[in-house]
Symmetry: C2
Amino acid sequence: MPERRGEYTVSLSNRPTVLSYAAVGGKKEGQGPLGKQFDAIFEDTHLGEKTWEKAESALQKESLTRALDKAGLSPSQLQYLFAGDLLNQNIASTFGLREMNVPLIGQFGACSTMGQTMAMAAIFVDSGAADLCGAVTSSHFCTAERQFRYPLEYGGQRPPTSQWTATASGAVVVGRAARGVRVSDVCIGRVQDMGVTDMNNMGSAMAPAAADTLAHFFADTETKPNDYDMIATGDLGLVGARLCRELMEQKGYTLGDNYTDCGLLLFDRDTQDVHAGGSGCGCSASVLCAHLLPMLQRGELRNLLFCPTGALMSPTSSQQGESIPGICHALLLESCP
Amino acid sequence: MPERRGEYTVSLSNRPTVLSYAAVGGKKEGQGPLGKQFDAIFEDTHLGEKTWEKAESALQKESLTRALDKAGLSPSQLQYLFAGDLLNQNIASTFGLREMNVPLIGQFGACSTMGQTMAMAAIFVDSGAADLCGAVTSSHFCTAERQFRYPLEYGGQRPPTSQWTATASGAVVVGRAARGVRVSDVCIGRVQDMGVTDMNNMGSAMAPAAADTLAHFFADTETKPNDYDMIATGDLGLVGARLCRELMEQKGYTLGDNYTDCGLLLFDRDTQDVHAGGSGCGCSASVLCAHLLPMLQRGELRNLLFCPTGALMSPTSSQQGESIPGICHALLLESCP
């Protein structure tokens, strides 16, 4: 049952476990260092659909269908789907998942969505509110660029601090099991806003939220960074991850070599022209489902502190002079072989 | 603890209770039949802010602050806020609530958001994942019109099936208590899409979702419509509520005089030029918090089946030829004096 642990953390004792997972991505993601670990790579950015938005919906349908198939489950066996994305009114999720015919609880956490959906699924399963839940999210470079920035045809210059929105989706199925990768603790973050207004420097806008959540988690659980085989924020990129280290140092925690960021894992920054790294809901989602969950499953990691971050802004809020609030949710995932 | 009851319903036995609530609205809502029941009416559509979006954020801050004040609570005593709205990337919620400094779990359910946020709060409290949660949502006529339809200055004609987006916000605080208005059952809906494409006929697009969820709830709980003092969908308006009655009849359930719709309660259709009725996340939220919860609290209603509905579309999905998927979540609220 979920139990409060310290001020911000909830411990889950009823063995909510990742029963299966899948990651799908686009051509650029396929060319990156994790390319071969994806369940499927789509060379066509349209996935055969008429629009990029419909293509992003197709990514969610693909990742969830593949995750269900691996567990030998049909959609009707899921009691809830927790899903969200970056598109206005969450249309990637709604239209991608509507045929599943599963009760849908739409989530919005910007690029932290994989953490938020998985946290909700784990808490629901742990509490008995559900036996089986799906958690899924996506992003698409082309839908994000035209919604948040410029038409792709405009060919706008991107500064070094900017990140590259992943064309990818990740899905997990959470149920109760004796073995597997367990969701042991969940720490939901508070909105942190340090006044950053540069839409091309999301990493810096989100880093304070990552540091806030990490510090709360360590305090609540009376642990320290080197108690974990890996701590993966996402998607702070190079600039944000450096700032996160600094902010944690100021809070009295040293993040060692076990610290990384999903935005740094998805692409090869030296050869793939992604500037500060990857971003988008699909970045941490696909890094988790293509790379990190398999490492936990194989026992190469005994535990992982998965801490996806989100920038809770819109073009309208930025045009109206607002700064960019960040959020970060932390999940402790443990390998239980 | 949350316990599955039938295929779609979860029963909550640990007394998750509405500790306090508040509703705030705009001038038109103040002139409506429920006007005097609001906690505050703001004559200025800007609430002293520079933009309508910031005004909508202010509505959320106002309603939650007033709900907390009534319970003698400070924001820091809340463990989670479940919040969402209709604006792109949920900015009304993020910017309205960021200063609360409470862990935020952003929700998206379009006009069903009050039901979704309250369901999440109740399940979290029931399970022990939290002791105190807030649930809040809002809408604003001016932000919705310019985002979903036309610039207000354009003065577009509105057909008779169209609804009027409420300028309003409702907030509830959920905790455990021996007495008060209890959330006893939650039935989360599935996306239902019957192919309606008319953005000016949302009621018809959402009615099938309301009928689907109501029928599931009655089947799961082995009850019938006249077991409830009131069944309130929201916000189907006149056209959608009629269709909901017809669809329920086809499913073998007769909705009697105890059936109403939040979109029909908020405004006086004869004198307020709202065509088919009210809509927007703030409509069912403010009808609940200004009118229905007080009736439960006073014992004038022993129970209420609160069933807010949402249309999960965006202007982009409509421009790309998609139909309008609907969703509806049902909560059984019981008066425990």
